[in-house]
C-alpha cells in the first residue's frame, strides 16, 4: 500500500475575496508500513492535505495515487479507496451517533455491505484493538462514556473498516495526559498488530520524536521538510522560525551542551535518550559533570 502524492494543490474559494491556497504543490511518497508524522503550525494545511488521501477533498491540481489507483480521478470508485484508507478526524467522538457502541462501530462495515457474521467479527476485533471490553461496552450508549472511552469507540469505528492505511488527525487533542498516552499506545499497538501504514497529524513534538519513522513539516501549505526525526529536528532555528518547537528533551540537551556539559545534543530526541546521555556523562566524570542537577531527570 503505497501513497504517491504529486504536485498536490488545493485552493479554497477560488476567485473570491477569501481565496486561500491551503496546500501548495506538495509531493511525496509513503511506503507500506511507514509511520509518518505530519507537523506544522495551525493553518499550515495539514488537515487539508490528509483529506485528499482518501478522496474526501478533490485537489485543485495534482494527483494522489494509492496503490496504483488515482484517487483524484473522476471515475475512481471512492468507496474502494475509503476501504483501504481509514481516517480519524479531530475530535472523532463528535461523530458518534448510534444507540450503542456496537452499532456505531458496525456503521462502517455495514456500509461496506458485509454479512452479519463478518460485521460482528470486525466489531469485536476493532473494540479489542482500542482496548474497549466488548462485554462491558458493546451495548452501552456511546454518549454516556468518558471522553477517552468515546474517542476510543470512535477510533474503533474506523478500524472496523480494516484499513491498510490509518490517518489520524490530532488524535490526542483535548485529552488528559493519561488518555493521551493511552491513545498513542493504541496507535502503536494497532500498527504492531495490523502492520498498517500510519499518518499522524500532531502538534506534539514529543510524540513525533518518539513515534515517527519519518516527519513531514508543513508551512503555509508547502511541504518544507521531509526526513527522519533526527534530520528534521537538526534545524531547530528553522523550526522555531515557522512556529514549531523542538522536543523538550532535545531543547534541554542543547541547553546542557551550551552550558558546557559534553553531550551530543544532535542525537537526542526522546526523554530516554536524554537520560542515557546524562547518565553517560555522569558515569565518565563520576557525577561531577552534572552536580547540582539532582533528582530523576524524567
Amino acid at each position: 500500500m503505497s501513497i504517491e502524492v504529486n504536485h498536490l494543490t488545493h485552493t479554497y474559494n477560488p476567485g473570491l475575496a477569501y481565496e486561500t491556497t491551503a496546500v501548495d504543490d506538495v509531493s511525496f511518497t509513503v511506503a507500506r508500513g511507514e509511520f509518518v508524522c505530519i507537523v506544522g503550525h495551525t493553518g499550515s494545511g495539514k488537515s487539508t492535505l490528509v483529506q485528499h488521501l482518501n478522496g474526501l477533498l478533490k485537489p485543485t491540481s495534482g494527483t494522489v495515487v494509492v496503490d496504483g489507483v488515482d484517487v483524484t480521478g473522476k471515475d475512481t470508485a471512492v468507496i474502494e479507496v475509503r476501504k483501504k484508507i481509514g481516517m480519524v478526524f479531530q475530535y472523532p467522538e463528535y461523530q458518534l451517533f448510534e444507540e450503542t457502541v456496537y452499532k456505531d462501530v458496525a456503521f462502517g462495515p455495514t456500509n461496506l455491505g458485509l454479512s452479519e457474521a463478518e460485521i460482528d467479527e470486525r466489531v469485536r476485533e476493532a473494540m479489542a484493538l482500542v482496548d474497549l471490553d466488548y462485554d462491558t461496552f458493546a451495548q452501552r450508549s456511546p454518549f454516556e462514556l468518558s471522553g477517552g472511552q468515546k474517542r476510543r469507540a470512535a477510533i474503533a469505528g474506523v478500524l472496523a473498516m480494516r484499513p491498510s492505511v490509518l490517518i489520524l488527525d490530532e488524535p490526542t487533542a483535548g485529552l488528559d495526559p493519561r488518555s493521551h498516552d493511552d491513545v498513542l499506545d493504541l496507535v502503536c499497538g494497532i500498527r504492531a498488530q495490523t502492520g498498517c501504514t500510519i499518518l499522524l497529524v500532531s502538534h506534539n513534538m514529543e510524540d513525533v520524536a518518539g513515534l515517527a519513522d519519518r516527519v513531514f513539516v508543513m508551512n503555509e501549505g508547502r511541504l518544507v521538510r521531509d526526513g527522519t526525526p533526527l534530520e528534521v529536528f537538526a534545524d531547530g532555528d528553522y523550526l522555531r522560525g515557522i512556529g514549531l518547537a523542538l522536543p523538550q528533551a532535545r531543547a534541554f540537551a542543547e541547553r546542557l551542551a551550551e552550558s558546557g556539559v559534553s553531550i551530543d545534543a544532535k542525537r537526542i530526541l526522546t526523554r530516554e535518550a536524554l537520560v542515557d546521555a546524562i547518565a553517560g556523562v555522569a558515569g565518565d566524570t563520576g557525577g561531577a559533570g552534572i552536580t547540582g542537577m539532582g533528582g530523576d531527570p524524567s
Partner: protein, 281 residues
C-alpha cells in the same frame, strides 16, 4: 458542497455599500422588497434589474458569489415557474395532452420567477455587505421604539446574533461530520429519496448533540462575563447617519419614484403603444 450555501453569509469588503448605516440598509432593503411587489410589468423589472446591477457593482461582491446564493432556492424558483407555466388560463401556445402552455402562462411564469430572484438577491445583498453583529445591532436600533409596548428588542436581537453566528459554525460542523461518516463508507449521494433521508441520520444526530453542547458552553461563557440582558448596556458600534447615507437615501427615493410612476401611469403599455405607432415593432 455544503460550503456553497451563501445565503446569510457576509462577504468581506470596504465598499460604499458596506459602509452605509446599517439601519438605513435594513430599511432600504424593506423598501426594495415593497418596490419589487409594486412592479407589475417588465419595464419596471428592467429598472429593478439595472438598479440591482448598480448596487452589486458598488458593493464589489462577485456576481458568481451572488448566483451561488440562488442555488439552494433553485428548486423553489423552478417549481414556481413550472406551476405558473401550466396553470395559467389564456390563449394556448402549445398543447401536450392535458397540459397546455398559454401565452399568459409564459408571461406569469417568467414574472413570478424573476420576482423571487430579485427578492433573494436584494435580501442577500444586505447580509453580504453587513456583518451579522452590525445587522442585529441595526435591527435592535430599529425596534427600540417598540420597547415601550413590551417588545423585547434586545433579546430578539441577541437571539438573532447567536443564530446568525452559529450558521457558519454549524455548516462547518456538518461538513466535518459528513466527511467523517463518508470516510466510514457512508453514501449520501445515491439511492432512493428514502434511502438518502435515512443516510442523513448519522449527520443529524451528532449535529444536534453538538448544537446542544455549543449552546451550553455559550450560555456559560455569557454568564461568566456577567451578561444580564439589554438594560443599561452600551454599544461598541454607535450608528451615525452621514452624508453618504443621505445620498443613498435620496438615490433610493428616486428609484422608488420611478417604480411608482411606472406603475401608476402604466408606462410599459404607453411605450409599447408609442413604438407601435412609429412602426418600430
Amino acid at each position: 458542497m455544503i460550503r456553497d450555501i451563501t445565503i446569510g453569509q457576509y462577504y468581506p469588503g470596504y465598499s460604499q455599500i458596506h459602509k452605509l448605516d446599517t439601519r438605513l440598509k435594513i430599511l432600504l432593503t424593506f423598501g426594495y422588497m415593497v418596490s419589487v411587489f409594486l412592479a407589475k410589468d417588465f419595464l419596471a423589472y428592467l429598472v429593478i434589474f439595472l438598479s440591482l446591477c448598480l448596487v452589486v457593482a458598488t458593493a464589489e461582491v462577485p456576481f458568481r458569489f451572488i448566483l451561488r446564493g440562488l442555488r439552494p432556492v433553485f428548486l423553489i424558483i423552478a417549481f414556481t415557474f413550472v406551476l405558473n407555466l401550466f396553470m395559467t388560463q389564456g390563449t394556448d401556445l402549445v398543447r401536450i395532452g392535458a397540459l397546455h402552455i398559454t401565452r399568459e402562462g409564459v408571461y406569469t411564469a417568467c414574472y413570478m420567477a424573476l420576482r423571487i430572484i430579485f427578492l433573494i438577491i436584494g435580501c442577500s445583498l444586505l447580509t453580504f455587505t453587513t456583518k451579522p453583529v452590525k445587522l442585529t445591532d441595526g435591527i435592535e436600533a430599529l425596534l427600540k421604539p417598540f420597547v415601550r409596548f413590551g417588545l423585547p428588542a434586545h433579546e430578539l436581537a441577541m437571539m438573532m446574533t447567536i443564530a446568525l453566528r452559529f450558521i457558519p459554525t454549524l455548516l462547518e460542523e456538518t461538513d466535518k461530520i459528513m466527511k467523517a461518516q463518508q470516510a466510514r463508507g457512508a453514501d449520501f449521494e445515491t439511492g432512493s429519496i428514502f434511502r438518502r433521508a435515512k443516510a442523513m441520520v448519522p449527520i443529524f444526530i451528532p449535529l444536534i448533540v453538538g448544537a446542544f453542547r455549543m449552546a451550553s458552553d455559550l450560555a456559560m461563557a455569557m454568564e461568566a462575563r456577567c451578561y444580564r440582558g439589554g438594560e443599561g448596556r452600551t454599544k461598541m458600534h454607535v450608528f451615525r447617519f452621514g452624508r453618504k447615507d443621505a445620498q443613498a437615501l435620496a438615490l433610493f427615493c428616486i428609484y422608488l419614484a420611478v417604480i411608482l410612476v411606472e406603475r401608476i401611469f402604466d408606462l410599459q403599455t404607453f411605450m409599447l403603444e408609442m413604438l407601435r405607432t412609429f412602426g418600430m415593432i
